[in-house]
C-alpha cells in the first residue's frame, strides 16, 4: 500500500482524547492521511463538563449539536458554582459578560465603588448567565446584538462514554480505522530516536509516520520524556467518582463544592448525576473519601465508587520527534475549572496547525511545546488561585494549598487585581476576562482601589444604573424556559 500525502498516523488509546484527536485529524486532513486508532487502556467513564470553546470544535467536525446532545444524555452548562471554598461565600463562574462597561470602564470597577460605599450586592447578580442559571433556566445566545441574551455562551455536560461513541462513529465514517490492542513494545530508530512502529501483544506491528500518545497518565509512548511535577503547587492527587440519581430540575451548572477533605464536583446529566471528591491520598483514606463524596447525595449514590489517580504536572515536551502526547499523557491539572476537555481540544488544534512536515525543522515542535506549556500553565495558575484564596481551615489539604508557592505570572496577576482591579491577560489564555473577575471577587479578592475614572459618575447614578441592570437581568431570566424544558 502506498503512503498517502500526509502519511500514516497511529493514535494509541481509546478514551476521549484519542477519539477527539482521531475525529479532528480525519476532518482536517480530508482523507490525505491514513489514521489508525489502537484502542487500549481504560474506557472513558463519568461525565465531562466543558467550556463554550468546545462548540467551535464541534462546528469544525460538522457535528449537529441537537443530535449530539440527544445521543450523549447531555445537559446545558452556563457556568460553575463554587461553594464552601471560604465559609459563607459562594459564587458562579458563569459564561458571558459581567455587567456592562460604562463610559469605557469595566463594570467591576463600578461594583467595587458601590461595595466601598456599603452595598453588598453579590457580583453574580450582575452576571446574566449566573442569574439565569441560579433560577434553573436556560437560553442560548440571542443573535440580535441589542438583546442582553446576546452576551451569553454555553458549554455542555456530556456522558464521556457516549461522547466517545459519537466521535468514534464520526471518525470511522471519515475513514479512520480502529481495532483493540495492547502495546507490547515501542520500537525506535536507533539513530533518530523516532518511533518506527508499535508492536502489539498479538504480534502486529503498527507502523506510522506520526504516533499520538493518548494513553493518559500511563504515557506508554512518551513516558521516557521528563515530567514536570506540580504536586508542590497543587495538593490533590486522587479522586473518587460516585454516580447518583438524576436530581430533578438541576440548574445548568457544574457544582464545585469544597469540603474538609478536598473539593466535590456534581455534573448533572439527563439520566444521572456524576459526582465525586478530589483529595490527597496522604491526608484522606479512600474510605473517608467515599464517605465525604457520598455526603449529601440523594440515596447515597448508585453503584461502586471508582478511584482515579491524579498527577498535576506536565510533560516537559509534548511533541518529541514523531511522537505527540495529547490529554493526560501530556499533562494534567485537577479539574475544578473544567478545562480538561479544553486542554485536549487545544492540543488537537495545535497539532492541526503545526502538523509535522516531512523534512520539517525542529522549530515546529518547539512552537507546539511552547504554546502547549503556556496553555496548561495558565490553567494551572487558575487552579492554584482557588487554593490560594480558599478560607477553609478545617482540613490539612487547605493549609497545603494556601501555603504553596505561587508562580510569578499568577502572583503578578493577583497583585494587579488586588491593587486596582486590573485583569492581566497573557498569551494562550483558556479563561476569559469575566471568568477571572468572577473568580477573584468570588473568592473575596477585592480591588483595593477602583479605576478613578469611575468617579466621573455620581454614586447615585451608578447605583441607579446598577439597579436597572439587575432588574433587566432578573426579568429577562424569569421569562426563559426552565433548563429541562430547554433541552432538545
Amino acid at each position: 500500500m502506498t503512503v498517502p500525502p500526509l502519511g500514516r498516523v497511529a493514535i494509541i488509546g481509546g478514551g476521549v482524547e484519542a477519539w477527539m484527536t482521531a475525529a479532528g485529524l480525519a476532518r482536517a486532513t480530508g482523507g490525505q492521511a491514513r489514521i489508525r486508532v489502537v484502542e487500549t487502556g481504560p474506557a472513558a467513564t463519568g461525565a465531562l463538563s466543558t467550556l463554550p470553546s468546545l462548540r467551535a470544535f464541534h462546528a469544525l467536525l460538522g457535528l449537529d449539536e441537537t443530535a449530539l446532545m440527544a445521543a450523549t444524555g447531555a445537559t446545558y452548562k452556563l457556568g460553575s458554582r463554587f461553594s464552601g471554598w471560604t465559609p459563607g461565600l459562594s459564587f458562579c463562574d458563569a459564561f458571558g459578560e459581567i455587567g456592562a462597561n460604562l463610559e469605557g470602564v469595566g463594570f467591576h470597577h463600578y461594583w467595587t465603588r458601590l461595595r466601598q460605599a456599603g452595598d453588598v450586592t453579590p457580583l453574580d447578580d450582575y452576571s446574566l448567565a449566573a442569574v439565569i442559571a441560579r433560577l434553573g433556566r436556560f437560553s442560548p445566545p440571542d443573535p440580535d446584538p441589542r438583546s442582553p441574551l446576546s452576551t451569553l455562551a454555553y458549554g455542555l455536560h456530556l456522558d464521556a462514554a457516549l461522547y466517545v461513541g459519537v466521535l468514534r462513529g464520526l471518525a470511522l465514517k471519515g475513514g479512520v480505522a480502529a481495532s483493540a490492542g495492547e502495546v507490547a513494545q515501542v520500537i525506535r530508530d536507533s539513530e533518530t530516536g523516532n518511533i518506527t512502529a508499535v508492536a502489539l501483544t498479538d504480534g502486529e506491528r503498527v507502523e506510522a509516520e506520526l504516533f499520538i500518545d493518548c494513553t493518559g497518565p500511563a504515557a506508554r509512548l512518551i513516558g521516557d520524556e521528563p515530567f514536570e511535577d506540580w504536586s508542590a503547587l497543587l495538593p490533590a492527587d486522587r479522586a473518587v467518582r460516585i454516580t447518583a440519581e438524576a436530581p430533578r430540575d438541576a440548574p445548568p451548572l457544574t457544582e464545585i463544592e469544597a469540603v474538609a477533605d478536598g473539593w466535590r464536583w456534581r455534573i448533572p446529566l439527563r439520566d444521572r448525576l456524576d459526582s465525586g471528591l478530589t483529595y490527597r491520598a496522604g491526608l484522606t483514606t479512600d474510605e473517608a473519601a467515599v464517605k465525604a463524596a457520598r455526603a449529601g447525595l440523594p440515596g447515597q449514590g448508585l453503584g461502586e465508587p471508582q478511584f482515579l489517580s491524579l498527577r498535576n504536572g506536565r510533560r516537559t515536551r509534548a511533541m518529541v520527534g514523531n511522537c505527540v502526547a495529547i490529554g493526560g499523557a501530556a499533562g494534567m491539572v485537577e479539574a475544578m475549572d473544567c478545562a480538561d476537555v479544553h486542554l485536549i481540544q487545544s492540543g488537537v488544534s495545535r497539532l492541526i496547525a503545526l502538523f509535522p512536515r516531512p523534512g520539517g525543522a525542529a522549530v515546529a515542535a518547539q512552537e507546539y511545546n511552547r504554546l502547549g506549556a503556556e496553555t496548561i500553565e495558565r490553567v494551572r495558575d487558575r487552579a492554584i488561585l482557588h487554593y490560594r484564596c480558599a478560607g477553609r481551615r478545617d482540613g490539612p489539604i487547605w493549609d497545603l494549598g494556601r501555603e504553596a508557592p505561587v508562580p510569578e505570572k499568577l502572583a503578578y496577576r493577583i497583585a494587579q487585581f488586588e491593587s486596582r482591579g486590573r485583569v492581566v491577560m497573557y498569551d494562550e489564555e483558556t479563561f476569559l476576562e469575566p471568568s477571572w473577575i468572577a473568580a477573584f471577587i468570588g473568592h473575596g479578592v477585592l480591588p483595593g482601589r477602583y479605576d478613578p475614572l469611575v468617579d466621573r459618575m455620581p454614586v447615585e447614578r451608578i447605583r441607579a444604573t446598577a439597579e436597572r441592570m439587575r432588574a433587566i437581568f432578573r426579568q429577562t431570566a424569569e421569562r426563559l424556559p426552565t433548563h429541562a424544558e430547554a433541552l432538545p
Binding site: 500526509l6 512552537e367 478613578p452 466621573r456
Partner: protein, 506 residues
C-alpha cells in the same frame, strides 16, 4: 482618609507638538467633565519634530474616541488616505512590495490563504502574492474607497490610515483640547523641583519665574526627556546594535502628481528615505547611520531624489534608537520621543503615542501613583516597543542588498533572539508567530517576509487536504475579483476632492 484627597487634581503636560497635543486631547476627551485640570506648557521657541506624518489604521479609533469629524479633520490637516507602505529596493535593488492594511485572501478549508498560495506557487499556479490583496492593487492603481460595511464582501477586507501634516494635526488637537478646558501656557522650563520625601516632581519653573505644580506630569518634551531623564535620571536602553540609524534629514517638496494612497520607504546606501504625499506637498526624509554617510552627503542625496522643488533647507534630527528604562517613573509618564525612539519605517511613532495615552487612561492613577499601576503600564509599553523593534529589524535583516558597506554590515549583524525564532518558524513552514499584546498581525509579517524574498522551505501540510486544482481556481478567482473591485474604486485624488479637499473649502 477621604477619597477625594487621593484623586489627581492637576495634570501638567510638558511640551506641545504631536505627542503633547494628542495627550491633551485624549485626556481631556475622557476627563473633560471631571474635576481634573489639564495644563500644557510649551515654548514657541522650541521646534517640534513632527516626523510622524504617516499613520496606521488605529489612528481612526483615536479620532473616533475624540469624536472628530473625518472630513473636517482631513481638510484641516491636508490629509490623504493611506492603504499601506511601499517598500522599494528592500529585497533586491529594483524590487518593490507594499505592506498593506488588510489581509491576503481568506482561509480555504480552515487553512490560511498564504499556505495555499505557497503550494500553488510551488506548482507554478500562482502570481505574486501582492495580486491577491485589494488594498495593494488599489494602491498601485492610485485608487481609494472606504471599506465596505458588508462583512461578506471583498470590499470589507482592508482598513486605511492617513498621511497628514503632523504640525497641523497638533494645531487641530490644540483647538479641540482648549475647547475642553485644557489651558496652554507659553514658556520655557528652567527648573524642575523634586519633592524631598519621595522624589516625585513637585513643580516646574518657567524662565518667567512662574512655578507650576501638578500631581501628575506627562513628559512630551521630546528626545531630551526634560523630566523623565534630566530630572528623574530614569535611564535609557540603547538598541542601536539592532537598529543603527541615528540621524535623519527632512525636507518638504512640491507635489508634481496626484498624491498616492500610500507612503513610500526606499532603501538607500546608508539607510532609507521616506516619501509621504499630502494634499498640498510631499514630506521627505532620509534616515541614515552617521558612521556611513555625512550629514552633507545625506542632505544632497535626499534633495537629489525629490519629486518637485524643495520647499526649505533640509532639517537634521539626531536620535538614539531605544526606549526609556521606565516609561512611567514616579509621577512622570513619558509619551512620544521622550519615551523612546523607533525609526518611522512602519509609521509607528504616532501609534506609540496613541497606545501610551490609551494605556495611561486604563491605568489612570491616584495621586500616589501606585507602583502596581506603573509596573503594568511599563509592562504593556515594553511589549509594544519590543514587538515593533523586532518587526523593524526584520526589514534590515531580510535584505539581499550588498552594494554598500552599510548593507553588508547590516546583513551580518545579530538580531534579537525573539526575531530569530519567528523567522525560523516562517522559513520552515510559513507560520507567523501570534501574540496577544503588541502591534503587527499576520498580514504585516507576511507582507515583509514574502516581499523581501524570505520564502518558506515548505508549507502547512494541511493545505494538501484541499484539492490543488480547486485551490488554484479559488486563487485565480480571488485575483480577478481583487482587480475588478480595485478598478471600480474612484481615483484617490478624486475621492479626496469630493470628500475632504483642503483647496477651495478651507
Amino acid at each position: 482618609m477621604d477619597k477625594r484627597d487621593l484623586a489627581i487634581r492637576r495634570i501638567v503636560i510638558v511640551g506641545g507638538g504631536t505627542a503633547g497635543w494628542m495627550t491633551a486631547a485624549g485626556l481631556s476627551a475622557v476627563l473633560g467633565d471631571s474635576a481634573v485640570s489639564i495644563e500644557l506648557v510649551e515654548s514657541a521657541e522650541i521646534g517640534t519634530v513632527g516626523v510622524g506624518e504617516a499613520t496606521v489604521p488605529h489612528i481612526r479609533n483615536f479620532n473616533a474616541k475624540l469624536g472628530l469629524d473625518e472630513a473636517d479633520f482631513m481638510r484641516k490637516t491636508q490629509a490623504t488616505y493611506k492603504l499601506g507602505i511601499e517598500f522599494r529596493d528592500w529585497g533586491k535593488k529594483g524590487e518593490s512590495y507594499i505592506h498593506p492594511f488588510g489581509a491576503f485572501g481568506q482561509a480555504i478549508g480552515g487553512v490560511a490563504f498564504h499556505q495555499h498560495w505557497l503550494r500553488a506557487r510551488a506548482r507554478g499556479q500562482a502570481d505574486d502574492i501582492q495580486a491577491y490583496s485589494l488594498p495593494i492593487v488599489a494602491a498601485r492603481l492610485n485608487r481609494f474607497a472606504p471599506p465596505s460595511s458588508d462583512q461578506r464582501s471583498l470590499g470589507s477586507t482592508f482598513s486605511y490610515a492617513y498621511q497628514f501634516d503632523a504640525g497641523l494635526y497638533a494645531q487641530y488637537l490644540r483647538a479641540y483640547s482648549e475647547a475642553r478646558g485644557v489651558t496652554r501656557t507659553e514658556g520655557k522650563i528652567q527648573d524642575v523641583a523634586l519633592r524631598g520625601e519621595d522624589g516625585f516632581v513637585e513643580a516646574v519653573t518657567l524662565e518667567s519665574g512662574q512655578r507650576i505644580e501638578a500631581d501628575l506630569f506627562i513628559d512630551c518634551s521630546g528626545f531630551r526627556g526634560l523630566l523623565i531623564e534630566q530630572a528623574l535620571k530614569t535611564g535609557y536602553e540603547d538598541w542601536t546594535q539592532w537598529l543603527p540609524c541615528d540621524r535623519a534629514a527632512a525636507v518638504p517638496c512640491d507635489s508634481i502628481e496626484p498624491p498616492t494612497p500610500y507612503t513610500r520607504a526606499t532603501s538607500d546606501e546608508a539607510g532609507w528615505r521616506w516619501r509621504i504625499p499630502l494634499q498640498h506637498r510631499v514630506g521627505n526624509g532620509y534616515v541614515y547611520c552617521s558612521s556611513y554617510i555625512s550629514d552633507d552627503e545625506a542632505a544632497r542625496v535626499l534633495v537629489s531624489k525629490l519629486d518637485g522643488k524643495a520647499q526649505a533647507d533640509p532639517r537634521f534630527l539626531r536620535f538614539t534608537t531605544g526606549r526609556r528604562k521606565k516609561q512611567w517613573n514616579r509621577n512622570v509618564v513619558a509619551i512620544g520621543l521622550a519615551s523612546g525612539f523607533l525609526e518611522p519605517l512602519e509609521s509607528t511613532s504616532i501609534h506609540l503615542i496613541q497606545v501610551a495615552i490609551t494605556t495611561l487612561l486604563e491605568l489612570f492613577p491616584e495621586r500616589g501613583c501606585a507602583g502596581a499601576d506603573q509596573d503594568e503600564y511599563n509592562r504593556v509599553m515594553d511589549l509594544e516597543f519590543e514587538r515593533i523593534r523586532d518587526f523593524l529589524v526584520l526589514h534590515y535583516h531580510a535584505t539581499q542588498r550588498d552594494d554598500s558597506p552599510f548593507w553588508r554590515d547590516k546583513a551580518a549583524a545579530p538580531i534579537p533572539d525573539s526575531l530569530a525564532y519567528k523567522m525560523e518558524l516562517f522559513r520552515d513552514r510559513g507560520m507567523v508567530v501570534k501574540y496577544r499584546d503588541g502591534f503587527f498581525l499576520e498580514p504585516s509579517w507576511l507582507a515583509v517576509y514574502l516581499g523581501q524574498n524570505i520564502l518558506p522551505r515548505g508549507y502547512d501540510p494541511m493545505a494538501d487536504s484541499i484539492d490543488p486544482d480547486e485551490a488554484a481556481r479559488k486563487l485565480a478567482e480571488l485575483k480577478a475579483a481583487v482587480r475588478r473591485t480595485a478598478e471600480a474604486m474612484p481615483g484617490h485624488q478624486a475621492f479626496i476632492e469630493r470628500f475632504c479637499g483642503a483647496r477651495g473649502a478651507a
